[in-house]
């Protein structure tokens, strides 16, 4: 563990989130909260079939309906092949879709969009669109999709624009294999070998605000898109691509966003409103209903993960072999990169030199996968942490001690960092901050891990069994050597600063975090920093809110900004006061020359630089391209009861101990931890897509897709274990994603501990748990 811990003036303090009071007052801050005159409304017609060719599409009756302004279909809309994934360029996802396709590939695929004066008009028009389908045999089982006779993308023109494997004729959306060390030798050296196959399920992000975009034409005839996006700059680029208009003609503005979690990285509603606005020269709105959010937005890639690992009696892990089949549904959004992250966000966690990772992503006729908090790490952690527990059990070592012994330590590396990148080769790195030992130890204390056998004995009955589970999880912080973030700042005459960042606050608090990081570098208060984020016309570029990168990457850009500005403040003060620059320092919002007792307050510098002395704008632009992706770490513990007569799993207490480097804003860290882990708990316990035999999701509502409410909560304890990450802003790493991946494996481990039954296919609903118990007892 690193010894140095950073105690800041502004960072490490829970300053109030900049937008908190305004949001709590209900100020009109979201995409739909601004009124537009003559607003056009859009409704979408979706395919009722999982796999079909549109033979005939007649929109004439719909177009005749009063109030209808236009209908878009594959016949009259952009036919530019693209990906909706919302990634940097060149995208590591296949170009395999058009705005509308003649062949529909899942229930929920787009068929036609109607623009009308009112929603009612648009809804009525949908019913008048005549579609004749040639229904094709679908394929739903991702374990059967590879090389199946049924070919989903048989149009022949889909492709990647980067040189990676792709074979759509075999439904094969991506393939990765990587091997380091000597796997065979590793397994030969093992005293015990465990292998398990686990399957995770479909899940949806469920942001409380559904996808929504409003597009309009401004007074310069430019297209302005006000949209709930995580990636305003990628959205601008992809809109220019799809609409085939110059990028300079497009402005994307992100107002406040009602949650994203990955699904708002996808470019879904934007091209529809942009196309209509460009055609109609009127403001156009398209907002998903909750049902559309479930059936037509994005999901977590379901996977089958086979994992085999070998261990010596002394606890040394000798080999790890992981094979993954990922289901990307009808389109290959994030097909390659989620796959590579299943390996790269799990395999480096434990000491092992002999590792193989083989992954395949396949197309099926089910809803589309995409970016979702955890991004493959969630899926693979299920396999990894179940097998780690089983290895420990096999050699008679406590699971906590086994992990303490084997987890990666500060100063160490894993060959996987180099072998597995974002679908391509990665970047070698040592990990310089690892607080996992402390996380495991402090978490153990909080849940009373070492007394668990006594607690179990005391609290278990004939029918209700108490159990404990532990897992360790890692993630990354940004995508090294690929993603860039920038900031711009200017000094005002009162000594405050405007900070303009492309970074996208989707509710995470990044506006506040970045203000704190910048303020720390100039001895300002966070309240002296006025933040404007995510407007492609006014803020510098940022890759957007994904890959756990804003605090770490954009944060470092803000550190760089402060360094540049500090230099300017010294230059300016040295000139005005006629003192040597290298004798200056900043203290209490002033530049001070101690020897002479002279000083200039920031307000004096601001005013004089504007109006009287050596007039100039003090300000800077700075950016950052990360060289590495330091993992945050977490240890999760759960104490549960399993009712073996009903299969009901009750989580009694949940402990998350986290190492995110320097916690920039501890209260916001806790919010990220608990939000993620509760999301993970619902996914593990109750969330699921229930499909009928035609591939239609049967439960697209909050009534039937169960996410937790207040009354479902267990007692939750979050422990922050500060470390110092030398490459991060004031020692910070990321926190957003890592905690979503713990609940699924930790509950499997706890159920095993309680009942001796190993469940490898969540969600752990009573019926599934009961069935597993009954099968076990047979």
């Amino acid at each position: 563990m690193t010894e140095k811990i950073y105690e800041g003036r502004v960072v490490t303090k829970s300053v109030p989130k900049k937008d908190a009071l305004s949001l709590a007052m209900g100020k009109p801050m979201y995409t739909d909260d601004k009124d537009f005159q003559n607003l056009v409304h859009v409704k979408m017609l979706y395919s009722p079939h999982a796999h079909a060719i549109i033979q005939d599409l007649d929109t004439s009756e719909a177009e005749k309906l009063p109030g209808v302004l236009g209908v878009l279909t594959y016949k009259n809309s952009s036919q530019v092949l693209h990906t909706s994934a919302g990634q940097g360029f060149p995208e590591p996802s296949p170009y395999d879709t058009r705005l509308f396709n003649k062949k529909v590939k899942y229930v929920g695929d787009r068929v036609a969009a109607v623009a009308a004066e009112t929603l009612k008009n648009a809804e009525a028009a949908l019913k008048l669109i005549q579609v004749k389908y040639e229904i094709l045999e679908p394929i739903f089982d991702h374990d059967q999709a590879l090389g199946n006779d049924i070919v989903i993308h048989d149009e022949g023109d889909s492709k990647y624009i980067i040189p990676v494997f792709y074979d759509p004729k075999k439904n094969h959306a991506s393939h990765i294999d990587a091997e380091v060390g000597d796997l065979e030798k590793g397994f030969t050296e093992a005293d015990f070998i465990i292998e398990k196959t686990v399957r995770n399920h479909y899940g949806q992000h469920c942001p409380l605000e559904p996808h929504i975009s409003i597009a309009y034409i401004d007074n310069y005839d430019r297209l302005v898109v006000r949209t709930a996006t995580q990636v305003p700059f990628h959205a601008r680029r992809i809109l220019a691509q799809i609409l085939e208009i110059p990028l300079s003609q497009i402005r994307v503005i992100k107002p406040r966003i009602g949650g994203g979690f990955g699904t708002k990285q996808e470019i879904l509603t934007e091209p529809i409103v942009a196309s209509f606005a460009w055609l109609l020269k009127r403001p156009v709105k398209f907002e998903f209903t909750r049902k559309e959010e479930f059936i037509s937005a994005r999901t977590r890639h379901p996977m089958t993960t086979w994992f085999k690992a070998g261990v010596k009696k002394d606890g040394t892990i000798t080999a790890m072999d992981m094979k993954v089949t990922s289901n990307t549904g009808a389109f290959g959004s994030h097909a390659l990169t989620v796959l590579s992250n299943t390996g790269s966000k799990t395999l480096p966690l434990y000491h092992c030199q002999n590792i193989r990772f083989v992954g395949d992503t396949v197309y099926t006729n089910l809803p589309v996968g995409g970016a979702y908090r955890g991004y493959g790490g969630t899926q693979a952690s299920l396999a990894m942490e179940i097998v780690m527990d089983d290895l420990a059990t096999e050699i008679g070592m406590d699971p906590a001690n086994f992990r303490l012994m084997n987890h990666i330590k500060a100063g160490e590396s894993s060959p996987i960092f180099k072998a597995l990148g974002e679908g391509i080769e990665g970047v070698a790195q040592t990990v310089d901050s690892v607080g996992l030992t402390e996380c495991i130890n402090q978490g153990a204390e909080a849940i009373d891990w070492w007394n668990r056998e006594k607690i179990k004995e005391k609290n278990s009955t004939d029918t209700v069994k108490r159990g404990f589970g532990l897992v360790c999880i890692m993630q990354g912080s940004s995508i090294p050597d690929i993603d860039m973030a920038a900031g711009y700042c200017k000094m005002n005459e009162d000594g405050t600063f405007n900070l303009l960042v492309g970074a996208t606050d989707i509710g995470t608090g990044s506006d506040t975090i970045l203000a704190q990081i910048f303020a720390e570098g100039l001895s300002l208060d966070a309240s002296d920093v006025i933040v404007l984020s995510s407007d492609t016309d006014t803020t510098p570029f940022d890759k957007g809110a994904y890959a756990s990168s804003t605090t770490y990457l954009t944060g470092q850009a803000c550190v760089n900004l402060a360094i540049k500005v500090k230099d300017q403040l010294f230059d300016y003060t040295a000139m005005v006061l006629n003192v040597p620059k290298d004798e200056l320092k900043i203290e209490a919002k002033a530049v001070i020359h101690q020897k002479s007792g002279k000083q200039m307050t920031f307000a004096e510098i601001g005013t004089k630089s504007y109006y009287s002395d050596y007039q100039t704008q003090i300000g800077a632009v700075a950016s950052e391209l990360s060289k590495k992706s330091p993992p945050p770490f977490t240890a999760h513990y759960a104490e549960i009861d399993v009712d073996i007569e009903t299969g009901r799993v009750t989580v009694l207490k949940y402990v998350a101990a986290v190492d995110c480097g320097t916690p920039i804003n501890p209260k916001l860290v806790v919010g990220q931890v608990e939000g993620a882990l509760v999301n993970g708990l619902c996914y593990a316990l109750s969330e699921q897509y229930i499909f009928n035999d035609k591939g239609k999701m049967m439960n697209p509502s909050f009534g039937n897709y169960k996410i937790m409410t207040t009354i479902d909560l267990p007692e939750i304890e979050t422990i922050i274990v500060p470390t110092f990450e030398p490459s991060g802003p004031w020692g910070a790493k990321s926190i957003a994603e890592v905690n979503i991946s713990g609940p699924m494996p930790v509950l499997s481990n706890a159920i095993f501990d309680a009942t001796g039954v190993r469940i490898t296919e969540p969600p752990y609903t009573p019926d599934r748990v009961l069935k597993a118990i009954q099968n076990h007892n047979k």
């Binding site: 007052m25 209900g26 739909d32 406040r256 995470t508 509502s701 996410i707």
Partner: protein, 157 residues
């Protein structure tokens, strides 16, 4: 518009032209009360929660006409920047406003509880917020915030 709805919103008497089939949620938003959010439009997420005659209800499953002669409180009616409602202040202080989309509804559900039960238990707070989904925070902080606001509303802090 085919009829006039008489209603008192945040203490102001209003005559609002409505259609007979319009939802109360849509009318309130049209009238500028944008703090009333639309998250599901099927009565399950709670982001459209308002107080109707001092009772927390979901405005997406009520017709506007059902609010005839009623008194409505929306989030816009309970506090100002200089003088926020104690629950608003507690949510800010506890750092539990993330994306913020669920917050107006949750605050109004909490107000409904504390107005009627000034000294609730943690379980009573949980029950009161049960109809307000939040995907960002994990709820614990919000429950804490409501419990922290209670003594302030009782005038003890």
């Amino acid at each position: 518009m085919s009829q006039i709805l008489h209603v008192i919103i945040n203490g102001t008497s209003k005559e609002i032209p409505i259609e007979p089939d319009e939802l109360l949620l849509d009318v309130l938003r049209r009238e500028g009360y944008k703090g009333v959010k639309r998250g599901c439009k099927e009565g399950t997420c709670g982001t459209c929660t308002i107080l109707l005659n001092d009772k927390a209800v979901k405005s997406c499953i009520l017709l506007a006409a059902q609010a005839k002669n009623c008194s409505i409180i929306t989030i816009e009616g309970i506090g100002t920047r200089d003088n926020p409602h104690p629950i608003q202040q507690a949510f800010v202080d506890e750092g539990v406003v993330q994306c913020g989309f669920c917050i107006p509804g949750m605050i109004l559900s909490a107000k409904n509880l504390l107005d009627n039960n000034p000294n609730p238990t943690k379980d009573e707070v949980k029950m009161a917020l049960d109809g307000n989904l939040c995907r960002c925070t994990g709820y614990s902080g919000q429950i804490k915030a409501v419990l922290a606001a209670a003594p302030v509303m009782r005038g003890e802090k």
